[in-house]
């Protein structure tokens, strides 16, 4: 199969999946016993007002009709209004996704590079103390609950050592002198684009602890997988044959071993993106990072269903997109997949 039909098939699959997802989330979140109209008003809402809001929001119509209306709007990029902030969900998502993706992408990229490195090292030095050490560390990395790790990092690196900032994207004093301006939403890129170098370094400094918290799980996963996958590949007959024919060990390792071992690793990287995005729910609370995780969590806890729909669709899309792009990468890296 060549790339184009493969891609178009995946895209159709994606569309079907998202429609199914949206229906699921819609009927699911609307079956929650919660008074949507009352929440929309806020404060000590009075009964008459709630009734009026119910009509205004169209909540008095049958659920299926509401869904059809929702989908019609969705097609024009309108995800509705948040019940809590009363702002368009689409706009909120556009603002907040980059703030989270910035951290997530750093974490994933570093986890991938370091994980493949450590995994490769462990496989090369199989049975030595290096291998053992990496094994223990990577086991620990996948075993520590993310919320606990984030709390610990904060306790150690802010409270005890004072090396890294406590919270947020940027120091508060910079908000007076060099406030961040919104261009792309990626704070590092924005600060460079607007020539705000003070903010650039400050933001980078603020990102360290959140990235460290997020990195642990994918790093452990990728390290372990790289190691086992490499060991399996290196014991295959064709490698043994190649070795017997006198090809240098390093060439063997990098050219044939690593390359062929990467395929399952890339699958895991794809999965990790969505997982890490969910982990931001916890990291963003603890580090007060104003991204999508914080936003989604508040929405979950307040049953803000338009936001829940938006976030679910977004994470579903990220999941499928990440998997698809990793599939494409695998086809490039591993010629065996056809």
């Amino acid at each position: 199969m060549s790339l184009v039909p493969f891609l178009s098939r995946r895209l159709i699959g994606l569309a079907v999946m998202l429609v199914a997802l949206s229906a699921l989330v819609f009927f699911f979140s609307r079956s929650i016993p919660g008074d949507v109209a009352a929440m929309y008003i806020g404060g000590m809402a009075k009964p008459e007002q709630i009734e009026r809001a119910r009509q205004e929001l169209g909540l008095d119509q049958p659920l299926t009709l509401q869904y059809v209306k929702y989908m019609k709007k969705l097609l024009s990029g309108d995800l509705g209004i948040s019940l809590r902030t009363h702002r368009p969900v689409f706009q909120d998502l556009l603002e907040k996704i980059p703030m989270s993706m910035e951290v997530v992408l750093w974490a994933i990229a570093l986890a991938m590079v370091l994980g493949i490195g450590f995994g490769g090292l462990a496989a090369l030095r199989q049975g030595t103390w290096i291998d053992e050490g990496i094994k223990w560390l990577s086991s620990a990395a996948v075993s520590i609950p993310i919320f606990f790790l984030a709390l610990l990092l904060q306790l150690i690196f802010f409270n005890l050592l004072g090396w890294f900032p406590l919270q947020g994207r940027i120091d508060t004093f910079l908000e007076f002198s060099n406030p961040l301006e919104l261009v792309t939403g990626f704070s590092l890129i924005d600060s460079l684009l607007t020539g705000n170098h003070a903010a650039f370094f400050n933001v980078a400094w603020h990102m360290v602890l959140p990235v460290l918290s997020l990195i642990a799980y994918p790093l452990g996963l990728i390290t372990r997988l790289t190691r086992s996958s490499l060991l399996e590949v290196m014991s295959q007959d064709y490698i043994l044959a190649a070795r017997a024919s006198g090809i240098r060990e390093s060439v063997l390792f990098f050219r044939y071993g690593l390359r062929n071992a990467l395929s399952p690793v890339l699958t895991v990287v794809g999965l990790s993106v969505a997982l890490t995005l969910l982990a931001t729910f916890y990291v963003e609370i603890i580090f007060n990072w104003p991204g999508i995780g914080y936003y989604a969590l508040t929405a979950i806890l307040s049953l803000d269903y338009p936001v829940l729909m938006g976030v679910t669709l977004m994470i579903g899309t990220v999941y499928v997109v990440a998997n698809t792009s990793m599939d494409i990468l695998r086809r490039i890296v591993d010629p065996r997949i056809k």
Partner: protein
């Protein structure tokens, strides 16, 4: 051959099997890490089972408040200190291990019980049933699991039972996918096809030939899933969407203790460490078992 010979042969085969199992176990425990992990696991399981007898203050472990002893550091009265309500942390940890271990067990077993039969079916009948199951599996897997679990917990009302069910729902497809793949690869092996030609029924073949062969990878996966299952319960509890107070639950304890972490660090750190140790033990043990079994199957 007489009946006697058959019986002897069967006995011999069984004995061989037992000996082989013992050999594998010895192989597992040859690594100190696995041995240590197994020791920790058995200790924790024992503590969980016999909690009422082991915990120094069983009532506090169950949630009774003890306001006279609030926020005390470790002492001979309270080996791990006390929490916001003056409850003995050690007793809380011991009672909390019940939630983690029991919850993890239910999730993993239930996921396998749902996932494996569907996987067998999907693998064995690749036509329409297989396609349907595959689609459903893909749909569920593309849904962010924790988000789904959070949603279910909110709809059904937060609690231990809903949290566990909420986690089983996104968990089983992994088993279906695993089994489906295994079945498809085994199905075309000679002996299975031969059994089909000999006229044995589908169900018979399924249970006689396919099930035993996929049992090993399923068990390994279950062991390796224990850790993530325990952490997932913690993730829900941490947000108040799992076990409800005053029940002891490690994730919830970290959450409740977090505000006090600067002054009474033990309230959050002790349950966090407990969870970390338990999950690490499961992972190390599971890894080793997988390693031994894969060596075994290569031989």
């Amino acid at each position: 051959m007489s009946d006697l010979d058959f019986k002897q042969l069967a006995e011999k085969a069984a004995a061989d099997h037992r000996r082989h199992r013992r050999y594998l176990l010895r192989l597992v425990f040859k690594k100190r890490a696995a041995l240590a992990a197994a020791a920790i696991l058995s200790l924790m399981v024992l503590a969980a089972v016999f909690a009422p007898w082991i915990a120094p203050y069983p009532d506090q472990g169950k949630g009774e408040v003890n306001l006279a002893d609030r926020l005390q550091p470790a002492s001979f009265n309270h080996y791990l200190g006390t929490d916001v309500y003056g409850r003995d942390m050690l007793s809380r940890i011991i009672y909390g291990s019940r939630i983690s271990i029991f919850g993890g067990l239910i999730i993993v077993v239930a996921a396998a019980l749902i996932g494996v039969p569907l996987g067998l079916l999907a693998g064995y009948r690749e036509g329409i049933p297989g396609a349907i199951i595959t689609r459903v599996v893909e749909l569920v897997l593309s849904f962010p699991a924790v988000l789904l679990a959070m949603g279910i917990s909110i709809v059904a009302g937060a609690g231990f039972a809903t949290a566990v069910i909420a986690l089983i729902i996104p968990w089983w497809p992994w088993y279906t996918r695993l089994v489906q793949g295994e079945v498809i690869s085994i199905k075309h092996m000679l002996y299975v096809e031969a059994a089909g030609m000999l006229g044995y029924g589908r169900v018979y073949i399924l249970f006689r030939h396919l099930l035993p062969n996929i049992l090993t990878p399923v068990i390994v996966m279950m062991l390796l899933d224990f850790g993530p299952a325990i952490i997932s319960i913690g993730l829900l509890s941490f947000l108040g969407l799992g076990t409800q107070p005053p029940q002891a639950d490690w994730g919830l304890m970290v959450w409740e203790g977090a505000p006090n972490i600067l002054n009474q660090w033990w309230i959050a750190v002790v349950p966090g460490c407990a969870m970390f140790i338990l999950v690490t033990a499961f992972n190390l043990f599971g890894d080793r078992l997988k390693e031994v079994l894969s060596i075994d199957s290569n031989q």
